[in-house]
């Protein structure tokens, strides 16, 4: 069996980065240099949806040999640690919760954002808008990973302060089903 079929094949990290960059351009469409608000929103949704699909399938692969998670918090922690490491080679830096189904995940130096550096002519707002598109994919990944583990939630991604720091806010709408009695 080749490494490929055993799930142990590797590609260059930049191969994925280039693909991701082009995914964002594709979602923006032909007018990618100066998108309107609605174009940005549409692009956001498309990119997030692709992240969602990938997250669902990826989490299946990453957890197939693990025992079931006992509760939602464990699932979230798994995403912050093992899952994030598999995808971004680092962990989520800070996890906060209000214990009522809302979790805030902070990545102090998200790899994609760390590479974003806007030309000086770009306004700070535009730069942040464009950069924000690049965290829609990880946002979808989280939502997809949760869904794959039975947790239905909404996930939003924001750049509260400065690049390359970003936050993902998870709002659980339906927790994972309890294990069968």
């Amino acid at each position: 069996m080749s490494a490929l079929s055993q799930g142990r094949h590797q590609v260059a990290e930049s191969t994925f980065s280039f693909l991701h960059m082009e995914l964002v351009q594709m979602a923006l469409g032909p007018n990618s240099a100066t998108p309107t608000t609605s174009q940005l929103q549409l692009a956001s949704r498309k990119i997030e949806a692709i992240g969602f699909q990938v997250g669902q399938r990826l989490v299946e692969r990453y957890t197939k040999d693990r025992p079931r998670f006992t509760d939602t918090l464990e699932i979230i922690k798994f995403i912050c640690k093992d899952f994030w490491v598999e995808v971004y080679r680092k962990q989520i830096d800070k996890l906060q919760t209000n214990n009522r189904g809302v979790y805030m995940l902070q990545d102090n130096s998200h790899p994609t954002l760390a590479r974003c550096s806007a030309p000086t002519a770009t306004s700070a707002t535009t730069a942040k808008q464009m950069a924000a598109l690049h965290i829609k994919f990880p946002s979808g990944l989280i939502r997809g990973a949760l869904s794959g583990l039975g947790v239905i939630a909404s996930v939003s991604a924001t750049i509260e302060s400065e690049l390359p720091r970003c936050q993902f806010t998870i709002k659980i709408t339906a927790p994972s089903a309890p294990p069968p009695a």
Binding site: L4, A12, F16, L19, E22, I50, V87
Partner: protein
């Protein structure tokens, strides 16, 4: 060449190919939804590949220790043994080399891990993005080429094969616009 490729691959940061292949698959699915037909999707995949190739060439030139290629056949070897290795972790075989064309055969293909084409998309050139990447990258080094997917494991062929045809060696021009 193989050793050059392995050396280059050993120096780059690597990730599990699943993230890459699943993302690629999701992109193809989205394109099929957007364009609703195979030809338009094939074209879009190639275009996206081109845009990637135009950037990727600089990472290749910077990280792989390769000199200038003397002829098209050498170019083929470099792409197959160093390029594919460095970015996709696989080594391709060069076949059918002549002064103006060559084909690359991929014994295995990370883009299409676990993919099966549904019947209504049976003629989809799933791997067309690779053709675009090659076209974009080669254009940046002054070679205008046409690349096409001639065989695909997803079509039931033994291997996946890309044919590269040299259309023009671009001469450097100095245009004085005074």
């Amino acid at each position: 060449m193989r050793r050059v490729g392995e050396a280059a691959f050993s120096k780059v940061e690597k990730i599990n190919s699943e993230l890459f292949s699943l993302t690629y698959g999701a992109i193809v699915t989205q394109l099929l939804k957007d364009y609703e037909e195979v030809d338009a999707t094939n074209t879009q995949l190639e275009k996206m590949g081109y845009n990637i190739g135009v950037r990727l060439i600089d990472e290749f030139l910077a990280k792989a220790q390769v000199g200038n290629c003397g002829n098209f056949g050498e170019t083929a070897e470099v792409i197959a043994k160093v390029g594919f290795k460095m970015f996709l972790g696989i080594t391709a075989e060069v076949v059918g080399v002549s002064e103006k064309e060559f084909s690359l055969q991929l014994p295995e293909n990370p883009l299409a891990e676990f993919v099966e084409l549904p019947e209504q998309y049976g003629s989809l050139a799933y791997n067309n993005m690779l053709c675009g990447v090659l076209r974009g990258a080669l254009e940046m080094v002054q070679m205008r080429v046409e690349c096409s997917l001639t065989k695909d494991a997803l079509w039931g062929d033994e291997v996946t094969e890309i044919r590269v045809v040299l259309k023009e060696m671009m001469e450097e021009e100095y245009v004085d616009d005074d």
